[in-house]
């Protein structure tokens, strides 16, 4: 009765697969949740600030004006500022292109998606969304809905790994506009910090690196953090595919000179991780996020 996309997973298969991944990543999700709890929670603000009538420590710069004003200008105290509660919008973008299937990484990618969405919903730090990208971008789960097990099944139904292109540039353009709209909607959490994070799960093979770099810079300006999770194919089971760490990229200049370089040497994303086994994911992802928070905390 309804139109079913022949290339996507059937509802039955999607359900079985989701439940299987949920079960097999259960303890890993708990590990990741614990890592994320420590990283995503606000760090204790240690700064003393403000001009208050009472407080923790005297602001020495205010003492002379205080005396000179015959003790009228009495806001001479500093207080320890409390960290504001952080809220997150986390988008997971899963590569739906055919290369995922060709290199045999689609199952590990779905497992990664399960692990990350489960951990984030256990944490309850904010909103979770899932998009698919290939030729086009499809929103498989939007920010305004809670992410449940049933959502996971619905999301799986929308992936078939058959897309004939891997348009990462299009993904970034679309997701940045989604983030910008969602930030305005999220502005209703008054007084709370909204942090936007995007996790791209893909085999990492994409074109138009110069355009992508430009968009990655724009994301930084919009304070959207992007972590690229590369699902690598060099598992012993797939001897035929080349690990992305060994992949060579080639250019032939007009005069005929051949230039070769390791693909990952010019990867356009600043924060990326290469995952060959889902067991590595909790600690590796936590490491990348910790590094980012370390850098951002130093800059604000």
């Amino acid at each position: 009765f309804t139109h079913l996309d022949a290339t996507a997973l059937s509802p039955g298969t999607a359900r079985d697969l989701w439940l299987y991944h949920e079960l097999t990543t259960h303890s890993l999700s708990q590990q990741l949740t614990e890592h994320l709890r420590l990283i995503l929670a606000p760090t204790l603000a240690t700064k003393l600030r403000g001009d208050f009538r009472t407080g923790k420590r005297l602001n020495l710069k205010r003492i002379i004006p205080y005396i000179a004003s015959s003790y009228k200008r009495d806001k001479i105290w500093l207080r320890r500022s409390m960290p504001s509660k952080r809220n997150y919008q986390v988008m997971i973008a899963l590569d739906d292109s055919r290369s995922m299937k060709e290199s045999g990484v689609e199952n590990l990618a779905l497992k990664t998606l399960t692990l990350v969405t489960r951990s984030l919903s256990m944490l309850e730090v904010g909103e979770v969304s899932v998009v698919g990208f290939g030729d086009h971008v499809t929103v498989a789960h939007s920010f305004d809905k809670p992410f449940t097990s049933e959502s996971g099944v619905r999301v799986f139904e929308q992936f078939g790994f058959q897309a004939a292109k891997t348009n990462v540039r299009g993904l970034l353009e679309r997701s940045l506009s989604i983030f910008s709209e969602s930030r305005h909607r999220g502005a209703s959490y008054s007084g709370e910090d909204l942090w936007q994070l995007m996790l791209i799960v893909s085999d990492g093979i994409c074109d138009s690196h110069a355009e992508i770099q430009r968009l990655v810079r724009r994301a930084e300006e919009q304070r959207v953090m992007i972590v690229f999770i590369i699902i690598d194919s060099s598992t012993p089971a797939s001897q035929l595919s080349t690990s992305i760490l060994d992949l060579q990229s080639v250019e032939v200049l007009p005069e005929g000179k051949v230039i070769r370089w390791k693909y990952m040497e010019r990867f356009p994303f600043r924060y990326y991780l290469v995952v060959q086994d889902v067991k590595e994911l909790p600690s590796v992802l936590a490491g990348a996020l910790r590094q980012w928070f370390g850098e951002v905390a130093g800059s604000i």
Partner: protein, 104 residues
């Protein structure tokens, strides 16, 4: 701005092989990511760069048993092949050598 940007470059992974034992690479480079704009001439240069020959040799290329007579991009379009798939590309010494005709 969008109007004068060039069409997006496409890349494809290829795996080079040959039936000529004396022309095999000493070390298998595995899959190599190349722009689909490449033609026979540029692929020939690529093979030579892997062979590290002192004198470059001209090569012909076969994909799925067909000689490549256009850019890889046109070949993929004509044969309905997706650039998402790793192509097996066979190289073989070119039947017709390039312009090295002796003057009469």
């Amino acid at each position: 701005m969008a109007s004068n940007t060039k069409p997006p470059e496409t890349k494809v992974q290829i795996r080079l092989s040959t039936r000529h034992l004396d022309l095999k690479f000493s070390e298998d480079p595995g899959a190599v990511l190349v722009p689909t704009s490449l033609r026979r001439l540029q692929l020939s240069r690529l093979v030579n760069s892997f062979l590290q020959t002192s004198t470059p040799l001209p090569f012909d290329f076969l994909i799925n048993g067909q000689f490549l007579r256009s850019s890889i991009d046109d070949f993929l379009t004509q044969n309905g092949i997706s650039a998402e798939i790793t192509l097996n590309v066979e190289y073989t010494p070119a039947l017709v050598p390039p312009v090295h005709v002796a003057s009469f």
